[in-house]
């Protein structure tokens, strides 16, 4: 407990030291005034004993509680196994997953939490709880040890010749720097190997590809598209693709809408891309690539749900709100001789979000 009064002691001795120094020249000025305001070390608060230390009944209670928790853990483990057997998952009934999962989870939770909470409560409430002071020893080493350490370093340097043999040392440093460089080339290769412009610019759409309903793949006649309709469209033939169906769909998904002709504001060069108020736009958002399909019939706005970009279908899907940078690419459509809607060509720009090589 000597440390408790350390501040006051050293203050007093320091004050005395200053007073002694000034004794032989002039009377000491009252420098001890500041030191009277110094905050005294309050020391440790008085030790509070736990109820389990003071009251043997509480101790018994704590013992019972802890063993109850451990028994609960055993029950939980048994319950988990029982649940696994009593509530099997029936592959034909999705509802059976719920009970299996829930009781298995309850069992495991009781099993693990029972042990954990019981152990912690045991250590807090019952195990030795008196306060101790652990003296911290100084970290600075003994002077001889420190000198010997410095010696070892210089001996090692002399024996290896690291500082002396400059050619060896510099070539080693060069080799260490050069070694990770192949990793950059290897990790770079994890990115797609194909040219992204070619990959994203060319989709399954070609001149003459019929527009088909998602997911059935049945082609769509212009007469079936009524004003205010929205059709979710895939190119004809995509539903029957044997491989890469999702990759192709991810680029070729199109939204088909019909607006009254006088509501459409078309530019000169794109006036032929629509048919009697029927317009087709890529469904892939130009922001990060979510499917934009929230069409508001009266306002003719398209909303992307991910980051709330809004596109105005009456104005070639130009961006009217949100983080998208470019309007949705338009698919030029027309009607073939049987009345089915067909694409006039592929998209004239890469679909989807911006990427480094995309020509803006």
């Amino acid at each position: 407990m000597a440390e408790a009064h350390d501040g006051v002691d050293s203050g007093e001795t320091a004050g005395k030291a200053v007073a002694q120094q000034d004794d032989h020249s002039t009377p000491a000025p009252p420098v001890a005034v500041a030191r009277l305001d110094r905050i005294e070390n309050p020391g440790f608060p008085p030790e509070r004993l736990r109820v389990t230390d003071l009251d043997p009944k509480k101790e018994k209670q704590a013992e019972r509680a802890i063993s109850a928790l451990f028994f609960l853990s055993i029950v939980g483990s048994v319950l988990a196994v029982a649940a696994y057997i009593l509530f099997p998952i029936d592959p034909l009934d999705p509802g059976s997953i719920r009970l299996n999962n829930m009781f298995l989870g309850i069992g495991l939770t009781l099993a693990l939490l029972g042990v954990g909470i019981g152990a912690v409560h045991w250590s807090k409430a019952l195990m030795h709880g008196h306060e101790q002071v652990e003296m911290r020893h100084p970290t600075r080493g003994v002077d001889e040890t420190r000198e010997r350490a410095v010696e070892i370093f210089s001996e090692a340097n002399a024996e290896s010749g690291f500082t002396r043999r400059r050619l060896v040392r510099n070539s080693l440093i060069g080799a260490i720097i050069a070694t990770p460089i192949p990793a950059i080339a290897l990790f770079r290769d994890l990115a797609p190997a194909e040219d992204p412009v070619a990959l994203l610019k060319y989709t399954m759409w070609e001149a003459g590809t019929r527009l088909a309903r998602d997911p059935s793949g049945t082609p769509i006649k212009a007469s079936e598209v009524t004003i205010g309709s929205v059709f979710h469209v895939i190119p004809e033939g995509l539903a029957e693709l044997e491989s890469h169906r999702l990759e192709e769909k991810a680029k070729a998904a199109v939204l088909l809408m019909r607006l009254p002709v006088d509501a459409l504001n078309e530019t000169e060069d794109r006036a032929s891309w629509s048919y009697d108020g029927i317009v087709a736009y890529s469904k892939i958002c130009t922001h990060v690539g979510c499917p934009v399909a929230l069409y508001e019939q009266q306002t003719h706005h398209l909303l992307c749900p991910c980051h709330q970009s809004q596109f105005d279908v009456a104005n070639h899907c130009k961006v009217i709100f949100g983080p998208a940078a470019r309007p949705l690419p338009q698919l030029p459509i027309t009607v073939d001789e049987e009345g089915y809607l067909v694409a006039q060509s592929d998209f004239t720009e890469p679909v989807g979000p911006s990427f480094w090589e995309r020509a803006l």
Binding site: R98, M102, V120, G129, F231, P291, L294, Q297
Partner: protein, 276 residues
């Protein structure tokens, strides 16, 4: 009351045998009489009114005339006396019986206040009155009609319905039909517990900002499949347990951040806190 008790007491004390209730009603006689009376009058009322609703779906001339009167009283101020439309409401010529059945049957019409979207409110008319107004609007010009009951029975293919719902509907209405937000004050309502005829009606008529999914886009059988899927979602509890409104990361995130993290923080504090 007191006299009765005294009478009982005298009866009990004057004769050696236990007192028989003479001329006294059974204690529950009043209740039994009330119940019989209620059943009789209620039953008679039910019998009397069932016959009246037998043929209101037939578009008789009387029905159309009644519908016209109802329309003039409730709808003409915004939609025009001949449903030709005014600045306050669009024309209903060509809207068809199905549109009326949907809008009035879900309580959206008569609209209470103008705004981005008409709200669902308590339905103000009986089904007979709705049918009358629907017949009157249908008489103006051909339009979508109320579907045959086999297309709203909900006995189609749940898996196909789920796929169609996911492709056509889930982006606005949420994959479990919990509803979603649109722009500038509009929203796609939740579909839990919605009458199948109203689901069908909304798909065909494209109310307000919902696009039109005509019978040429989604066939009546496909619409029945979608209704079957919605019925499945309504009837079966979520496989994952407590679905928190099926709102996905929003509600689940809120739950985990408040209760999960809160519990973790509490446990952390408890771990190092001194025992009592």
């Amino acid at each position: 009351m007191i006299r009765r008790i005294e009478t009982l007491h005298t009866m009990a004390t004057t004769s050696a045998a236990p007192a028989r209730r003479v001329g006294r009603r059974h204690p529950l006689a009043t209740t039994a009489l009330l119940v019989v009376g209620l059943l009789a009058t209620g039953g008679a009322y039910a019998l009397a009114t069932t016959t009246a609703t037998a043929d209101t779906r037939a578009a008789s001339a009387q029905l159309i005339e009644d519908g016209g009167k109802l329309f003039a009283a409730n709808c003409a101020s915004c939609h025009g006396i001949n449903a030709e439309g005014t600045a306050a409401g669009p024309t209903l010529i060509g809207a068809g019986a199905l549109a009326v059945d949907f809008q009035v049957g879900t309580g959206r019409m008569p609209m209470a206040a103008s705004g981005p979207q008409a709200e669902i409110k308590p339905v103000q008319f009986t089904q007979e009155q709705i049918d009358a107004m629907a017949a009157w609007v249908a008489d103006l010009a051909p339009g979508p009609a109320v579907p045959a009951s086999r297309y709203i029975a909900g006995d189609g293919d749940t898996a196909i319905g789920a796929e169609l719902f996911r492709i056509n509907c889930a982006m606005c209405h949420n994959v479990a039909g919990a509803g979603g937000a649109l722009t500038e004050g509009k929203w796609a309502p939740g579909l839990a517990g919605v009458d199948p005829v109203h689901v069908y009606g909304a798909m065909v008529t494209g109310p307000q900002n919902m696009p039109v999914f005509s019978d040429l886009n989604l066939t009546p059988q496909e619409k029945n499949d979608i209704i079957t899927y919605l019925k499945y979602v309504d009837e079966n509890p979520s496989v994952g347990g407590w679905d928190l409104g099926s709102l996905g990361p929003v509600s689940e995130g809120l739950f985990i951040w408040i209760f999960g993290l809160g519990a973790l923080v509490g446990v952390t504090i408890w771990l190092t806190a001194k025992s009592n």
